[in-house]
Symmetry: C2
Subunit: 400 residues, 2 copies
Amino acid sequence: MHTTHWTLARRAARLNPSTIREILKLTERPGIVSLAGGLPSADTFPVEAMRAACERVLGTQAREALQYAASEGYAPLREWVAQELLETQGMRVEPSQVLITTGSQQGLDLLGKVLIDPGCTVAVESPTYLGALQAFAPFEPEFQAIASDDAGPVPDALRAAAGARLFYLLPNFQNPSGRCLSEPRRRELLAAANEARIPIVEDNPYGDLWFDTPPPPTLSALAAETGATTLYLGSFSKVLAPGLRLGYVVAPTALYPKLLQAKQAADLHTPGFNQRIVHEVVKSGFLREHVPTIRARYRAQRDAMAASLARHLPPGCRWQLPVGGMFFWIDLPAGLDATALLPRAVDAGVAFVPGAPFFAEGARADCLRLSFVTVPPERIEVGVAALGRVLAEALAQIPN
Amino acid sequence: MHTTHWTLARRAARLNPSTIREILKLTERPGIVSLAGGLPSADTFPVEAMRAACERVLGTQAREALQYAASEGYAPLREWVAQELLETQGMRVEPSQVLITTGSQQGLDLLGKVLIDPGCTVAVESPTYLGALQAFAPFEPEFQAIASDDAGPVPDALRAAAGARLFYLLPNFQNPSGRCLSEPRRRELLAAANEARIPIVEDNPYGDLWFDTPPPPTLSALAAETGATTLYLGSFSKVLAPGLRLGYVVAPTALYPKLLQAKQAADLHTPGFNQRIVHEVVKSGFLREHVPTIRARYRAQRDAMAASLARHLPPGCRWQLPVGGMFFWIDLPAGLDATALLPRAVDAGVAFVPGAPFFAEGARADCLRLSFVTVPPERIEVGVAALGRVLAEALAQIPN
């Protein structure tokens, strides 16, 4: 045996195959309407702008773009991020606080490395972004799921988590629930976090994808007033393209050096080539024109799915209309188990993501996530109709 | 204070500013001849091939290149890596063993995460690649430096490290020492590792940069005969361009799933855009034409530096002629401290990297690393002459 000499670290036991990844494999069969993806629509990728930017970068700065570069990131892109956060979010950020990362997923990994000791408590929303649970898990925290009501995490539940190393939350159009926190709830959570001395890690990949009105100010923007402590994660994946793997962390000055050292150790730096291309694309206001086209497209998609859901889901299913982002979250009638229903749904020609993996504690079986952004409306109708039939049949089988 | 709520993980104490990074900042002053860099020469970057590849990728596969992608990496690139390792190294590797990483630095981080428990022993060469020490350190190992003779790590010293979680080594034109292991020493080290049940992590970023004859087979190629266990790290940074951040791990089948899960958690996947561009560049044998041009250039640069060293370094300095790679390693006469001499050298107009940071244990002060690849020969001559003067002056000040 060639592999007998390897010994795994204890933390490796906390690395596990992604349930969702396994589900997505199922759904790659031809003919399946997959509402399971977490991908943005490829129709929104600005290919022409990217092509022009590649041309310019390789024409005028190829040697720098292809060479090793600073671990902090490309300085003009860091400056752009700081300016953009000021203009669009009212956040006052120094470029020196911006750390460019290989997707915002890497920001989560770096935070785990720098902040999480084995056995310490990490507070998360319930449900929360699965990728964050996966990033934090190998650092062996105990997750504490903060109870939610319809408006989001409950401030008193956060207060009760005093001692937690951090509270991770997505304020806008959350993955998976689609929920957007109201401004009062944001302020209440900031106050609670401040009282309980829990720093907030605010992850905002979907904030630009609003449909009618912009979401309330980020917790990080409000934090300046309240004295609470936040760290902010942003991403280019949903407004440009995820295949570039570009995100950023805005870190408190006291944390920045350790995050930077963790970044160096992790991959030296995010590809300079990608950073310069994105800077070329965004530097002259491209997103001001481009993001509204994504919003319009996603809103029409949402409307299509909302109509299909109303037509086809059986009584007892409940959902909120998402006002931004990419997802519907469906609460099923009591007694239904989304994970158990998935194979039947796939047989019927539709795929979704069961809700259970998104819960760090107390997983609920009776919920699921549907993406409305990648499948055209006529296929959404076909998929949701199939889902409706599967749910109706399952309901009919529940003994009264 | 906004930052008082943050508590660092214990491992964060093992994250520290890179000494070499700080040195490199010093050397960015205009007029300094920097022999301190670890960068490849930007003159070797195949800009035209990259430009054509970008054009093709964005012209024919933009949607896929810009979308989320598989954590394992782009399948055709993984197949190319397996085939290339067979053709150029005689290594029998399945594409399913290849994990594409964001530079080979990320491979080191993933290995640390999956294999290193706090307090476990990690055996390393002495000196060794500083980036590996930085990647492993936050996982809190105890480093054990394996004693070296002129031929490289001493097999009996490796045997004495039985119990180590892994032995990390660079077989070819090592950074920093420039040393290439002989085939007998490779076989002896494999036998010793096998006896001591220590798996070998073989990092080979410089193997293609040989000047006269290819290096002996990799330990991973030889391992199949001996029954020893190895894991292999490769990189596109030195044969194409580091700014793309593309490397790979070839992992034993039993380790692959955990490394893959760590990869997903770390950054979901390496940019698909970059992977497809590199695949476009390399798929039709481009490296067969391109790498020989790098070899010829670097050999001429090495010859220039060898001549300058012979002309200018004072008696008592010793070095081996590197037969590949990017570095000369200089042993200084007893009593000289390279770190202490660096400010004087910078004042005299030349920069180098002191040897001390490359030692995990028992750091030696009387050694330094010079890169011969980025500075043109006439500037190498100026820089080495300045270094010679600084060393001669320092020697004159040592009391007899």
